[in-house]
Point group: C2
Amino acid sequence: MGTNVGQQSFTIIENGTIVTPSGFTAGGLHCGLKKTSRNDIGAIRCEVPATAAAVYTTNVFQAAPLKVTRESLSNGRLQAVIVNSGNANACTGQQGEEDAYAMRSAAARELGVAEEDVAVASTGVIGELLKMDAVHSGITALPAQLGNEANEAEQFSQAILTTDLVKKEACVSVVVNGKTVTIAGAAKGSGMIHPNMATMLAFMTSDAVIGAEALQRLLRQATNHTFNMITVDGDTSTNDMLVAMSSGYAGNEELTMDHPDWDAFAAGFTYVCEVLAKAIARDGEGATKLVEVQVTGAVSDESAQAIAKTVIGSSLVKSAMFGADANWGRIIAAVGRAGQPVNPDTVDIRLGDISVLEQSRPVVFDEEAALAYLQTDDTVRIIVDLNHGEGTAIAWGCDLTYDYVRINAAYRT
Amino acid sequence: MGTNVGQQSFTIIENGTIVTPSGFTAGGLHCGLKKTSRNDIGAIRCEVPATAAAVYTTNVFQAAPLKVTRESLSNGRLQAVIVNSGNANACTGQQGEEDAYAMRSAAARELGVAEEDVAVASTGVIGELLKMDAVHSGITALPAQLGNEANEAEQFSQAILTTDLVKKEACVSVVVNGKTVTIAGAAKGSGMIHPNMATMLAFMTSDAVIGAEALQRLLRQATNHTFNMITVDGDTSTNDMLVAMSSGYAGNEELTMDHPDWDAFAAGFTYVCEVLAKAIARDGEGATKLVEVQVTGAVSDESAQAIAKTVIGSSLVKSAMFGADANWGRIIAAVGRAGQPVNPDTVDIRLGDISVLEQSRPVVFDEEAALAYLQTDDTVRIIVDLNHGEGTAIAWGCDLTYDYVRINAAYRT
């Protein structure tokens, strides 16, 4: 069932889902918010009030459900999440807020939990009011599914998708003072993806015993190195949210940063975030490949992050990756405009194993080999060594393709 | 010949070029740097050493010709500009620098001016050495053209283009204490265009009597409101340069900021910059239309500029404009992530005359009319009023199209 990866302190559970950690059920179905018959409403329920944490979009215009979720989370606890796709319930004013509260109270009633223990999330078109008839019929039908269907997690994962092509899930287990703790996550997001929580929803479950403060801190740290290091198109959504719930069913001694197994737990938790983040980047609207940018030798990790994000966000670099063009000139131009300390004479650039620039000077390289490397439908690695310090970072994104334009020229109409 | 525009203090000269101001000749021809037979080397020459000023890219990696031009301009004077397209002479190390100096000395010799009065500019592919044989043969052939052909300015304007579809020129005249002063400009740039002097070259000529310091200050001011307010794809080139030369042949009293006609001159100068900047944005790689973003009601002009640039730079907004989709949700999402003070409850958005958002709430609008407005091949105006202060700004860009991807997926290979 599990795969132990090298020296890693956690075990990957290949087909694990958000209901693999003990204590969770989930479900999803079509209630009529999407024009197609795809699932558009879903829920996760914990048997007990779970320790919970969340991070939210940095956009000034935050959608109504975020306000409601913040309020629910003020006690560090959640027992259920209700989420819809097809409509973001953003820029919908007073009515939108009332609708988000109505979603919360209907979910609380139907799932048998307290209102203040329910998080609400929405994703989809901005500026249209939710069809509340559809939402209410969906919420009423959900409880029959939770815990009763073999593919309940699959139904949930489908319910949160918009222009995504594939569902995104990950699961690992970690041993904490002899007890097996399981951590899982499900996410959506393929357009409007950018650092700082772009149109992305992610839900993580765990059965670890952990305090809300420790969970919140870990969530923020892991987010900074994973979800906040991906970009599809540089836009930041009004609706992004990452919610983590931990049931405590694993029965371990409470995890704190001083616990001897904290690092193992944090590594497993961060790994789940990284798998989901990379899956979102790979499934970027119109993408044909995952692009990974590794920056080393920067003056600090923060500086390396800024440079990696600038390179991964460059439309010219992204177009070149689509065209399998080893156009390192665009990579170095992006490095140079990141606003970070760079020595213009000491930069090395590799595409995978192929060195194209050394000490800021072009290297004669095998164009055929570079073309073959870039023509992958898997992962292209751009490696930039500034030779200017000890800072490192990795960012993920995708290529810019005809399909990105097609999808976004006709999303709403 | 001229058109006087409303209350403007200057007169537009419809077919004016960089040789319309007295004292200038120009030329351009094909020397072999481009694979096609299009012009790839050009020069402007002034009969006398001209007062000169320049602004350069902010990219850390500045191309060799910029270093040479900076050195030439240290005395505030230029008599000639030599420029090539097809090769940027960037990231070419010591050899690239020697080549840029060689271009300068060859141009000085052939054009009969002092070396330290020659500016050098290059645009094109990064990281390849210039074919100096071609460059030298081009420079040798240029003098026969300068001042001897009716279309000499046209030949120059063609010589600086890369992926541009059309040449960009503008010309105005202004009366300064009774003397007619003429100001003209020619520019190139269609990809890697972003605030802070992206792959853009612009050359301005004037016959005004003006000091180098005043010209430099005006050039910087005008650039901030024109060239630095356009974006095609968010990338900033290694080679951008805007050079202005003024022959003094108009014989006016020296223009200083205290001169009673300074404002008229500045308005004419800025207008030429704006026409060129908008032409660059309109000719953005693959663009089908010009997009203008007007921001009012910001806390300051700087804040309005930041917001306007974020909106015009959003791939999602740009894709929607291509698709003629009145997707104001993407506009407000871009406003909200610009990192500027915004009241989330007071934003108005119009597309041309069509109001789509008032006080941050959707307005029911005529979708047919909006579609018709956005389907133009001319200019689409996005008007954002934050109702939060007195700051205003205008930015220009273009839509994101299949052709942008096509052009940039296969530029180098």
